[in-house]
Amino acid sequence: MSNVSEERSETVFDDFKPAYTEAQAKVEANRCLYCHDAPCVQACPTSINIPEFIRKIATDNVRGSAKTIFDQNILGMSCARVCPVEVLCVGDCVFNEMGVPPIQIGKLQRFSTDRAFDESWTYYEAGPDTGKSVALVGGGPASLAAAHELRRLGHACTVYEKRPVLGGLNTTGVAPYKMKADRSVEEVQWLLSIGGIEVKTGVNIPDDVDFAALEKQHDAVFLGLGLGPDTILDLAGKELPGVQGAVEFIEGMKLEQLDLKDVKRVLVIGGGNTAIDAVREAIGLGLPEVTMVYRGREEKMSGYHHEWDAAKQEGALAAWQTQPVGFAQEGGRITGVKCQKMDDDKKLIDGTEHVLAADLILLAIGQSKLAHLVDGLDGIETKWGRVVVDEHGATGRPGYYAGGDCINGGKEVVNAAADGKRAALAMHDYLMNKGGSDA
């Protein structure tokens, strides 16, 4: 697996939530009430035993603290940084009910897991070889969590990833003020140190290796495909330079040095989390005027309000109830977006046509779905472009399991980690009991 380049636009960013020093971590850890059946644990999709890992920080058992985290979520280091804790564990801390600042669970989790990485603590060994082999399609959080769990259970694993780097959107998508690409890659390496996970990058499934071939070589398949490329507004001018999908732009910023010296005004189209991220990133990269263009009202946007509040503080502008209806151009160069105002019923209002000037337009109106890749496979059901699975992560085709964004349409890293582990346990059951024969 190749490393990421040193020269990346994202390196200009500082952590939005700085790491705790040991003294800070202890003060915070000692505040935790050590609730029983704690609401924070219930709010965590991977059910990390939060009060326990916090108590272990307070008692100077940081090695054990990190283990408590990894036992439930092997991607606990990145989750500590990228999880929207405000709406998950921290949001449910009982201190909120008391009007006392909630425990900073994410920062404490980062403290323990960073320490584990810095000290090269490892906890897990591969299980005794079962002779079974699993293909994992996609090298993002879902597949990685599944592969690690499968290795602990003794199954051989091969990860097929079309990109040159592993980690999925954790490497190529999450905001650099939460985590940078190199940290995600370090996490992948730490996780792979369990041994026995073969990695094949630059392999597109099914174009390079088809499913029949996978079935021949492996006893089960996990689909951790994630989502596809950005959805592009189907308006004249969409192919012009200066119009770009937001996720693609973010990937560029995270993996390369972008040339943005001619960009003065940026419009980000959309009201979700990718849109807010793109706004904050454009501002952080030093672009002078960054405006979010959203067709609804501010309070209706689907992105997290705590993130938007931060964006506003950083200087974000917004055009609410505004719908793009065309691109404005001059001599093959984009000059802005033609817009119309929208009413509360999302109807365009006549006579409100106007142009918002820009030299860079980022489209954050969603990502396409990849379920079509498995359309030809008997038994696998898809719905709204998502792969349909049961409560164990199994698809309708024996031996095929799935998890992460490709089944939920795009949630968080922590959901992908939870799905991967869940599917691994079900696959183990399948491989050892029911199927997984060489046939």
Binding site: H36, E52, R55, K56, T59, D60, N61, G64, K67
Partner: protein
């Protein structure tokens, strides 16, 4: 992986963490859940003639929002029928043959001791603990600390128990004595295979100042109870070490009193405990705390290259000495790390009001980092204790040119002491 197996007077458990004889070890269901959570042993709630309890029974010291830094109770021994207890102990031992189950006992007459010991042994239990410690209620009936406070009685009853018992006998000592050593020696002379200490300390935990009644309040009255929990640890550690370092005392110790986490347990072990028992912290937070205790102890042993528990038992005992043997010429002064200092000046006020007036405001009034006058600093380390920033104030050794000399040597005329500091 270090071996946590603990052996206290022949009572072997997979780790040194036992539930103390108290509410967390009151019934079979509880003890089994505790073993599942990771506890290595349990001393069953004291058996004897079942009693009846009052309500309320507990009180707590609250400190800066923390409830239960110190704890007290006016509870007595088991209130459940003996048959039920014995049946459950038998079940637990059957299900958990590798875990240690110790039966705590407290009865009066020789006949009663004989009978209850036989029935205890029949359960398959690994050992007995004679409760000579309870400082309230039972002692008024001539049992508990009434026994533990009289070395002769202690020795005699211990010898009865030894006569009837085929399994190891521990004697649980009361801290409500001036000097623990004669009591430990009495138990040893009676044949005890080991001692457990401490039981609770006679206490009044507080007063309901609106109703003019001490706590815990039983209608309009209260009574003295037994103090335990984190706050009693220093007293317990001292008693443990006092026995451990006495050359006449040779039997193992099970340490009890204020253990809340792995670090506390390590302290007891280093001062001579072969196992540690926990009551209050489990009452307050549940059996789950043992996970961290096991992990923390393992990490600690690994860091210090202890392969087995025995390698660390008593490791700090030789360094526990009489005051007269301390080196009077060893000199330290406080050093403040200006980079770490947050300018709270807690050290300054502590030194001015509570020590030797040698930490001062810097000449430049804008500078918050205080200055230590090293020529006046007596090295008491009060400032280091009040400093909220780890490693900000350190006590640094000063080379004063004097060779080591103790007070005892000085009195004997063989040691030359450095001049006193800060005594104007």
């Amino acid at each position: 992986m270090p071996d946590l197996t603990s052996n206290t007077a022949g009572i072997v458990s997979p780790n040194p963490f036992w539930l103390a004889s108290a509410p967390p070890a009151n019934s079979g269901g509880q003890v089994m859940r505790a073993f599942d959570a990771g506890w290595g042993g349990a001393v069953w709630k004291t058996l004897g003639q079942p009693i009846q309890n009052v309500s309320s029974r507990f009180g707590a010291v609250r400190w800066k929002g923390n409830n239960g830094v110190g704890f007290n109770n006016i509870e007595l021994i088991t209130d459940r029928p003996l048959e039920t207890n014995f049946r459950e102990i038998t079940e637990v031992k059957k299900k958990y043959p590798k875990h240690a189950v110790i039966v705590s006992l407290m009865v009066e007459t020789k006949e009663e001791w004989k009978d209850i010991i036989k029935r205890s042994i029949d359960t398959g239990a690994d050992g007995l603990e004679l409760n000579f410690g309870c400082p309230h209620g039972m002692c008024e009936r001539g049992m508990g600390s009434a026994v533990g406070q009289e070395p002769k009685v202690n020795q005699e009853i211990t010898s009865w128990a030894k006569e009837y018992s085929s399994i190891p006998v521990l004697v649980k000592l009361t801290p409500n004595v001036g000097d623990i050593v004669p009591h430990g020696l009495a138990a040893q002379a009676g044949g005890a295979d080991g001692v457990s200490l401490i039981n609770t300390i006679k206490s009044i935990i507080g007063v309901d100042i609106d109703n003019f009644v001490p706590e815990p309040r039983v209608d309009g009255k209260s009574t003295n109870g037994g103090y335990c929990g984190a706050a009693v640890r220093p007293i317990a550690l001292h008693m443990c070490a006092a026995l451990a370092r006495d050359p006449r005392f040779t039997v193992p110790i099970s340490g009890i009193g204020g253990v809340t986490n792995w670090r506390d347990a390590v302290e007891f072990i280093l001062l001579g405990s072969s196992s540690v028992q926990v009551c209050t912290e489990v009452m307050l937070r549940g059996y789950r705390i043992v996970e961290d205790m096991i992990e923390g102890l393992e990490s600690y042993m690994r860091e210090h290259s202890f392969e087995k528990l025995d390698d660390m038992v008593g490791k700090a005992v030789p360094a526990y000495s009489e005051w007269g043997n301390l080196d009077m010429n060893y000199e330290t002064v406080a050093k403040i790390d200006a980079d770490k200092c947050i300018g709270c000046q807690l050290c300054l006020v502590a030194c001015h009001d509570g020590a030797h007036q040698c930490i001062h405001q810097a000449d430049d009034a804008k500078v918050r980092v205080p200055v230590v006058d090293e020529s006046e600093c007596v090295g008491c380390n009060l400032c280091q204790i009040v400093c909220p920033v780890p490693d900000c104030i350190s006590m640094v050794e000063v080379d004063n040119g004097y060779s080591p000399a103790t007070w005892n040597e000085h009195v004997a005329g063989t040691g030359k002491l450095r001049p006193k500091k800060g005594a104007h």
